[in-house]
């Protein structure tokens, strides 16, 4: 079992504070292409249960994770593919996980909503809105106690702003000056509910209530997210405590792939088209030489093809091991059937 004991020594070099435009673009392109591929595999039935596509929000995951060290940690959400890829998981193993293969990040046990990869600092996607924030706070608390200069970033949506445990966590993080960055991906909706009709006050106001410094950034511009994150992570690392980042973004696709099967009228095509005008890949893509952009696109296409190949050729986990890992101590409970 990959032990995650906090180490006072940083296990990786700090990323160059200056952003690398090409690398940021590559990160977003990887997520976009991965998600488009995953949508296909949902249609074909190779991914069971569907996914919450991250398409449109790529700049947030990439901008934040670009300033994190390999030994820094993140927690993710039900819409977590972007975070997992941006933090450095192998896309092949991530796709294998979505396909429920033994070679997946979670050995096929977690799937889309629970993808975790401790080896690169991903404590896991969480299927409960707001559920990951206190876990991230605990990791930050452990790091601080160990004297490590590790930072933890926790992603959550605007819907989590109304979840009590997130608010309790903001209080604890501020109170104990935890090396934690709250990243609110405000995409305007919680499933079908508009943020405005669910959130009294503002995200920034929530942060202010607990004395948390906050910044609201254009979540469609990876450089804006990168700059805000760099400052927040630096503050957390030097002991100044947590920061709250609200990234204004938008999901181009359905809340979840099942939404494609039901007619929902909670937002207009005009609204979607408007946000598409500011597609994060174009906003930032325009900043790098066209030739280089095409080359990256091509490399990613290959990479995704390889991931599909890897996932498809990977073995399924053995049903007789269905409850392996249930207890870390190795304990096994009784089966549910009549034995023998």
């Amino acid at each position: 079992m990959a032990e995650l004991v906090v180490d006072a020594r940083p296990t990786g070099p700090a990323p160059d504070p200056a952003p690398d435009p090409a690398e940021l673009y590559r990160g977003m392109r990887l997520i976009r292409s991965f998600e488009e591929c995953a949508l296909g595999l949902v249609k074909s039935g190779e991914i069971v249960g569907g996914i919450h596509p991250y398409i449109g929000e790529e700049a947030v995951a990439v901008g934040v994770c670009a300033v994190l060290r390999p030994d820094d940690l993140i927690t993710s959400t039900h819409r977590g593919h972007g975070h997992v890829l941006a933090k450095g998981s192998d896309p092949r193993r991530m796709l294998a996980e979505l396909c429920g293969r033994a070679t997946g990040l979670n050995r096929g046990r977690g799937g889309s909503m629970h993808a975790a990869d401790v080896s690169v600092g991903i404590l896991g996607a969480n299927a409960i809105v707001g559920g990951a924030a206190p876990i991230a706070a605990g990791a930050a608390w452990a790091a601080k106690r160990a004297g490590a200069d590790r930072v933890v970033a926790t992603f959550f949506g605007d819907g989590a702003l109304n979840q009590g445990v997130l608010l309790e966590t903001m209080n604890l993080a501020a109170l104990w000056a935890l090396p934690l960055v709250f990243v609110c991906e405000n995409n305007g909706y919680a499933t079908t509910m508009a943020t405005a009709s669910a959130v009294a006050g503002t995200a920034a106001g929530r942060a202010a209530a607990f004395g948390l410094p906050s910044v609201t950034v254009d979540g469609m511009d990876v450089l804006a997210v990168h700059a805000a994150s760099a400052a927040a992570v630096a503050a957390a690392r030097d002991g100044s405590g947590p920061t709250f980042i609200e990234a204004l973004t938008y999901r181009y696709g359905p809340h979840h792939t099942i939404e494609q099967r039901i007619r929902l009228a909670y937002r207009t095509q005009e609204e979607i088209d408007q946000w598409r005008q500011r597609d994060p890949l174009d906003v930032h893509g325009a900043r790098i030489p066209p030739g280089q952009r095409e080359q990256i696109d091509a490399e990613i296409t290959e990479l995704i093809e390889a991931a599909v190949e890897f996932a498809r050729s990977s073995p399924d986990p053995d049903p007789k091991d269905a409850l392996e890992f249930l207890y870390a101590s190795g304990m096994t409970g009784r089966s549910g059937a009549v034995d023998g």
Binding site: E97, G110, L326
Partner: protein, 320 residues
Amino acid sequence: MAKLSYAKALNRALADELARDPSVCVLGEDVAAGIAQFTLGLAKQFGPDRVIDTPISEQAFTSLATGAALCGMRPVIEFQIPSLLFLVFEQVANQAHKFSLMTGGQVKVPVTYVVPSSGSREGWAGQHSDHPYSLFAHVGIKTIVPAMPSDAYGLLVSAIRDDDPTVIFAPALAMGIREDVTTELVPIPIGQARVHRAGEDVTVVAVGHLVSAALAVAEELAGEISVEVFDPRTLYPFDWAALAASLDRTGRLVVIDDSNRMCGFGAEVLATAAEEMRLVAPPRRVTRPDGAVLPFALALDRVVQPGRDQLVAAIRAVMK
């Protein structure tokens, strides 16, 4: 003779009660859009004052419903995921349930909690695949798991009209079931079991979507073993008299139940039968394993749930 689906039956029961009683309303996430099918079309029919979208604040809106119920309303709450009931366990078990006794009978709390798609939904994995009805039966919440569309209709109606907190689990694997509805839909009393198929040799108590599995197995074994299929419909209060009557005939008991084995519903049925009823052979349970967490990969998800083969094995075991 119309075919009624389970999902539609729940939807119709809610619509009928909304129409009948102005104190009824439904609260939850995305209920206006009706993405869980349960409330589909009702916002349009009854308006946003009766079908209320809530922020993702389960604890607050669950106790808000309790407060409204104290003042004469009859709120229905939809939970999108079974594990959301874990999140509101304090509000249900410690607040709503206890108010009547703690106040010395000054108040009542007629709230209905509905989970339209409980248990495993293929591919939803660990945190979205629970079937925690035994927890609610243990603390004393009236706990209902309908197996058939007509029961889903009739029990939801009774739950909404009941003066106590009531929870209804609609198994995801039952939502698609269709039933020929010959007679008109009527309320079904809480606490009354239904014998779907009479038999002489063994009584199979099956919960929710597993009733269909039990009926299929009974048919399959018909030549060999005469299986009585017993559907409690309400887990708590349980229809003990009906079970005793069935065991007086068969003397043999198997329970198939999609909750965890340890301290689960199946345990209660076996325990009470062993204490008080006629058993000519050791009874058996088919359940989820102890402490089960459903793995994502479909083949793994499936083997953790109780299945037909296991039921057949259990029936053969009690016939030995």
